[in-house]
Symmetry: C2
């Protein structure tokens, strides 16, 4: 049997590709290079950049979710782009531009659907994870026919999505287990909900309000009971200090039966009882917090800050509520991501074009990777979490 | 260039193997066939048996853990066997017999070490995950020089392991971050601790006692404070009813700030406040519970039973504490495993040689797979959990 050199080279290349593709997925992740339209595919152990995938559009504020089998990642870009990546073959599978301007999305519990929250023209668009085929446009229109920006879109147990309408001041629940998906709950909320989160156990949806104080809570186990307004203290600080950046609610931490919330416009971390949402303490901080994230073991909460304090990360003990470390990872710390069992935390240091890796026991830097203006970091373990 | 038929066939086979090996890992799992010395490698979506791996020894009571990248599984057999499997190549990589009789093990936070709890000759053996090379034998000997069986061995944050000495009545903490690993805590416990668990947040180690009532608790954040005895009611029932099977503590569920414990020798589920370990309620059950497992969203607790009620599974609402379903999956329901975000639960039905799959919303069987006397079911999502 005769083979020419070209065929043989092709065979060898296929073999090599396939060999590269046969690898573990549980310790991989993505780093967003916000101004380059690119993401890095990384291995966390040992830390290494495996590939750089380009052409994903405007990635400021971009987020990513993962298929249940962890093979594919889906990146929601700010310009309405939605990209499907293959982490094994390390390539862009497909990219669509699904709206004019969007602010994140989520993947359904069964891994079949993506829901994207849109600013422009507003509403929620649904796509299959398989081919990114559009399977639904859910308008965000209030009783007077006005369109709203959709914000704080999260997945909820039972193949549902929950999200907020900014202008209309409404929280809606979408059932994606039915075909077509349909809105099964509409709850009048406070003025201008600007972001939301689902508690890690999947039970409560909390929406922060831009237009007034307090937080609206929807009990996803009992949505028919409607919203409850809690934390009347939350948000008041914004009138005292200029707010450099609204904190990210997805970063709200839960540890030991308490929620840790970045204060809006305050140099404070709010500590809230998970049972009745009462404020049990306030921890003074180095600056205006952006993200407050709990270690997976719940023992410590890591906080980063808005400018001009964004060179700093503080670590708060979840039990004593003392600040046990003030770290200086570098200028422009935008995001923090823990390895799934909590041994390491990766910090994106935008202005230094690198990601720094800290040992969470020793609170020391143990490694770094180069990245161009890195922002979000997303590890594949997110595939198995509720409410991201 | 000339290639003979055999070389070409070899090439083609390598290509096929590599292609099969390139697949997602986040939705895979193992089913233990307890009397066949075999495990099935399964895909959960759609449900399918991918491979059957034989020659693993006595798999009654066998458990499995996964490497952080999810590529490898480690199976702890009852006969002291320790096997390393490759889930991509679907084969046994290596098997050693590390002791005469063992009762499970755990993998360190960093994924580097396995710790195996031994009955005979007692003690904890440590192995590298890489090659299964022995790197330590930690004796379990009390002040009088007597050996103890080691039970309830769990991983804890910070590359530690925690375990109990049955005869000595002691709980020990092993630091596996140092080389060599060393015992850093020895705590006198109640009589005959028989199993243990670490709460899902990694904070507390709880040991059930065979020789007296109550549960010993070690606060892993503050181990220097020693043990605390809680739940004096727990275990008393065993004098009233014959105990058909001691419940499995690893199955203790946590949901909404409460722990759900299978009553020993009672037809009851204990509901315990997570903060002070007081009993807040008891839920009457169909029989003597073995496992009580919370859905990942914490909304319901699923319970299976000792003979003669082991054809039944009951589902208890974690909020109302009402039993909302009594299911009859078949004879010999031994184990329950949820898909990571909770949409499905897989039940091994030993006496019917099948695994049945239920939709957790509709509480209906939606599929099944054949398996020879299946017992434990372990999904790869366990790679990222603390205290398994």
């Amino acid at each position: 049997m005769r083979l020419d050199r070209r065929t043989l080279c092709g065979l060898a290349l296929t073999l090599l590709t396939a060999a590269a593709a046969a690898q573990g997925l549980g310790d991989l992740g993505l780093i967003v290079e916000r101004n380059s339209g690119a993401v890095l595919v990384v291995d966390t152990d040992p830390p290494a950049v495996l590939a750089r995938i380009e052409g994903l559009g405007d990635l400021s504020h971009a987020t990513a979710v993962f298929s249940p089998d962890m093979r594919h990642a889906f990146v929601f870009a700010r310009d309405g782009g939605l990209s499907k990546l293959d982490l094994l073959e390390r390539r862009l599978v497909k990219r669509i531009v699904q709206a004019g301007n969007s602010i994140g999305g989520a993947i359904s519990e069964d891994g079949r659907l993506l829901a994207v929250a849109n600013y422009e023209p507003g509403g929620v668009n649904l796509f299959t994870t398989d081919t990114l085929e559009a399977v639904g446009e859910i308008p965000a229109v209030d009783g007077q026919g006005r369109r709203s920006k959709v914000v704080g879109l999260e997945d909820a147990p039972g193949n549902r999505f929950v999200y907020s309408l900014f202008e209309a001041g409404e929280i809606r629940l979408l059932d994606a287990a039915t075909r077509p998906p349909r809105v099964v709950g509409r709850h009048p909320a406070g003025r201008q909900p600007y972001d939301g989160l689902v508690t890690p156990d999947g039970r409560y949806y909390l929406a922060g309000l831009f237009g007034e104080d307090g937080v609206d809570v929807l009990d996803l186990w009992n949505p028919e009971k409607g919203l409850r307004r809690v934390l009347p203290e939350y948000g008041r600080g914004e009138r005292r200090l200029p707010v450099y950046k609204m904190p990210h609610l997805e970063g709200w931490a839960e540890a030991g039966g308490r929620l840790f919330l970045p204060g809006v416009g305050r140099h404070e971390l709010f500590v809230v009882d998970r049972r009745d949402f009462s404020v049990v303490a306030r921890v003074p901080l180095h600056g205006q917090p952006v993200f407050a994230v709990a270690q997976p073991d719940g023992r410590r909460v890591w906080v980063n800050f808005a400018p001009p304090h964004n060179d700093t990360v503080q670590v708060v003990d979840a039990e004593s509520l003392e600040t046990i470390a003030t770290l200086k990872p570098g200028k422009g710390v935008l995001h923090m991501e823990f390895t799934p069992r909590g041994g390491r935390v990766w910090l994106s240091v935008r202005d230094e074009n690198r990601v720094r890796i800290y040992d969470t026991q020793r609170l020391e830097a143990v490694g770094e990777l180069p990245a161009r203006e890195p922002s979000g970091i997303f590890f594949t373990a997110r595939a198995h979490r509720i409410g991201l």
